[in-house]
């Protein structure tokens, strides 16, 4: 795999990726899935490079996934847990970035509670920056791992009916997925109460439903979103039990989708709020565990491609 098909210095969002770049990244990720399934799972793609995971927002899964991905590729990985209280001022964000930059990292994986913050940080450092989620904006590696999961389960990543259900308004996962799946020419439905699925999302080319049974009719993929209680600044829904009753995924609602429809969830799940536990655990329908597995492979691929570009640009500078 050559990075010539992936011409980016950073991975800040799906918005700037072209369809062929998405395909190239997923192809490379497929090969890393194979590597990860071997007893000896090591490559030297990132040998000698330093990866810093900078999480300004709590994360267990994404951070662990990036850490394992970096370690399997031979990078020196360091985790920095940035306490929310230590970044009250944004000067600190830029100052922290400058300080880190002086330590010559090669890959910076950043999650931040504010939209656009990772973009801002990327302008101040001279290494590759990967967005691990910025506010309500984008979470590109999640969309890529979802795409890889769909492609492997369905055999293709185009002309599928895909439903994204639940808290779209507060979800960076939904935005990145909406952009990626739209670029790959799928038909997308957004399902949820209008307080969580605002009408302006129709302008992204999605169809909007406020009835699960109607919206799930004949879909190939059901993507559930986590109800983001921590991002809500007021009453968006009357109660969790009413939400589960009307929008939680259970066997009855799922029966309206195609019989072979897969069920996805970016995790962590609120069982009994947006998804019934038995659906989440149904190995015939749920691909939630595969999503986690694909996450590592996709992050390996993304860091591999960015590292190739980084090395190339440094060589060009040196010569």
């Amino acid at each position: 795999m050559s990075a010539a098909t992936f011409d980016h210095r950073h991975l800040l969002g799906i918005e700037t990726l072209k369809p062929h770049e998405i395909t190239a990244l997923l192809d490379l990720a497929d090969s890393y899935v194979e590597l990860n399934r071997r007893p000896e799972k090591h490559s030297d793609a990132l040998a000698g490079l330093t990866q810093i995971n900078m999480f300004f927002e709590n994360s267990t899964r994404t951070q662990a996934s990036f850490e394992i991905a970096g370690k399997r590729l031979g990078a020196d990985v360091m985790n920095m847990a940035m306490q929310a209280s230590s970044i009250k001022k944004g000067e600190t964000l830029i100052d922290t970035a400058m300080t880190l930059n002086a330590m010559h990292p090669d890959l910076l994986v950043v999650r931040h509670p504010h939209s656009g913050a990772v973009d801002l940080l990327s302008q101040k450092v001279n290494c590759a920056v990967l967005n691990a989620g910025d506010g309500k904006h984008e979470h590109p590696t999640q969309a890529l791992l979802d795409a890889l999961t769909i492609r492997r389960a369905k055999g293709r990543l185009h002309r599928l009916n895909i439903a994204i259900c639940g808290d779209v308004a507060h979800s960076r996962v939904a935005r990145s997925n909406l952009i990626l799946l739209g670029k790959m020419e799928n038909r997308i439905r957004l399902i949820g109460p209008p307080t969580l699925v605002p009408g302006q999302f129709a302008e992204f080319g999605a169809e909007i439903y406020d009835d699960m049974r109607e919206g799930l009719k004949d879909v190939d993929v059901v993507m559930m979103l986590r109800l983001q209680k921590e991002r809500m600044d007021g009453g968006f829904i009357p109660s969790e039990r009413e939400y589960f009753h009307r929008f939680g995924l259970d066997a009855d609602k799922l029966s309206h989708a195609k019989p072979d429809a897969i069920v996805m969830h970016p995790g962590p799940m609120n069982r009994g709020v947006e998804i019934d536990g038995t659906i989440a655990d149904d190995i015939n329908r749920s691909v939630i565990q595969e999503q986690v597995e694909m996450g590592v492979a996709v992050r390996m691929a993304a860091m591999d491609l960015l590292a190739q570009n980084l090395r190339k640009s440094r060589q060009a500078e040196a010569s």
């Binding site: 000067e91 504010h114 656009g116 973009d119 506010g135 309500k136 935005r175 302006q200």
Partner: protein, 435 residues
């Protein structure tokens, strides 16, 4: 002291004319507007003016208009003089053709007592080369609980009362303040906005805000705020000016209120007239203003409202912010932009785009704000103060923010091509800026 402008393209917003002529200024006041082609010597002799002491300015066909009267300028004294002082704001105003700045009270501390107002007046007189007229807060500390000493503040020179971007959300407090202000003949300037709906918003809701994941407010919040204020005006009969009307949806309400004979006028900001929400692009914080930039449809509707006179005034809403306040994630970054020096060239975009003519533009920049404040300026007629701007409407340049005279350089027009250069600015017949 006599000053004669000849070969001037006179922009008269009152008469709505744009024609060649001459202007005679004596002792800081416009003495006479004269037709084209008079010989200066002859003219002086006919009026018994000593030719030796008179100064003749050949305008070479460039525009001579009344100086801009800018309502709502933030000078960061007291409290944040590192962002802007009376000296730098005054220099910026002079360089921008602004001859009167009406300053905002949202300083630290708030201008809400005769004592703080006197401080401001003293500082302004000592340092600023242009006219400075201070506004005072409508409620103490702009907290929306108790009205300020409106009578004393007027005696101390306050020309209007405003809590700036703070909405007095308690309608009882606001209605009493309006009633009291009416009895004093005071002008109240408010920020029409439903404060709970717009809390925390950094953008206008729509596709762009959704794509960027920014907390957004519906443009309807502006109309709701205006509707409430109009109802309170009907109740109190106060003299009211809306600081910024920026959305199409608020316009019919404004039109009805005017038709019903309420004492209401409205302004808008230069940024909402010349920029839209898409200019924010990749979270460019210099484009963060309050209220947030709107859609293109709103922008066009607001321009049309300025053209018809429904919206009365255009302001710079000059708001200096230092680099630190802007080098933050968009949500956290401070709102506001400096605009004293860019106001005229930015406004001329509307003229070059044939959306407004020059007399129409100066009606909104000079005549209407002056009228609303009861000033004699803003006109090109005899007995008006000789507050004038001489400018070349076509001269092109590329905006370089580091050349601005303001202490803060947070302009959204940085790097943009603009047209319109101020050649000279006169306050009471004295040149305060020449280029």
């Amino acid at each position: 002291m006599t000053l004669l402008f000849i070969n001037a393209r006179l922009i008269d917003p009152e008469a709505g004319t744009d024609s060649l002529g001459a202007l005679l200024v004596q002792d800081g006041v416009i003495a006479e507007v004269l037709p084209e082609g008079m010989e200066p010597g002859q003219l002086f002799r006919a009026r018994n003016i000593d030719e030796a002491s008179a100064q003749v300015v050949d305008c070479s066909g460039k525009c001579l208009a009344p100086g801009i009267v800018d309502i709502g300028v933030k000078v960061c004294e007291p409290g944040e003089r590192h962002k802007e002082s009376y000296k730098t704001a005054g220099l910026a105003a002079a360089a921008g053709g602004v001859t009167t700045i009406v300053t905002r009270p949202d300083t630290t501390p708030t201008i809400d007592s005769p004592e703080t107002l006197e401080f401001v007046t003293r500082r302004a007189q000592a340092d600023a080369p242009v006219n400075v007229l201070p506004m005072a807060a409508l409620t103490k500390e702009r907290a929306g609980r108790e009205m300020t000493e409106i009578g004393f503040l007027m005696d101390a020179g306050a020309v209007a009362f405003s809590d700036c971007d703070h909405v007095v959300s308690n309608t009882k407090v606001f209605s009493r303040a309006l009633t009291y202000a009416r009895s004093c003949g005071a002008l109240v300037i408010a920020h029409p906005q439903e404060p709970l709906l717009s809390a925390g918003a950094a953008a206008t809701s729509g596709k762009f805000a959704a794509l960027r994941g920014l907390p957004a407010v519906s443009p309807m919040a502006e109309r709701m705020g205006l509707d409430r204020d109009i109802a309170l005006l009907e109740m109190t009969g106060a003299k009211y000016h809306a600081d910024q009307i920026t959305t199409a949806r608020a316009l019919p309400a404004l039109e009805r209120a005017k038709a019903n004979g309420l004492d209401i006028t409205a302004g808008t900001s230069i940024h909402h007239l010349t920029l839209n929400e898409l200019d924010v692009a990749d979270y460019r914080t210099f484009f963060k203003v309050k209220p947030p930039l709107r859609s293109e449809e709103d922008r066009l509707a607001v321009i049309e409202a300025v053209r018809t006179g429904l919206i009365d005034t255009i302001s710079s809403m000059h708001t200096p912010q230092d680099e630190e306040s802007k080098r933050l994630p968009f949500e956290e970054a401070a709102a506001g932009a400096v605009a004293l020096e860019t106001l005229l060239p930015a406004a001329l975009r509307l003229v070059h785009a044939q959306q407004l003519d020059l007399p129409g533009l100066f009606r909104a920049l000079a005549l209407n704000p002056a009228k609303r404040l009861g000033l004699a300026s803003g006109r090109l007629s005899a007995d008006a103060p000789a507050d004038l701007v001489l400018f070349d409407p076509d001269a092109p340049f590329v905006m370089d923010r580091f050349k601005l005279r303001s202490k803060s350089q947070n302009t959204p027009y940085d790097g943009q091509r603009m047209q319109g250069r101020v050649l000279a600015t006169y306050v009471a017949g004295t040149a305060v800026f020449t280029n």
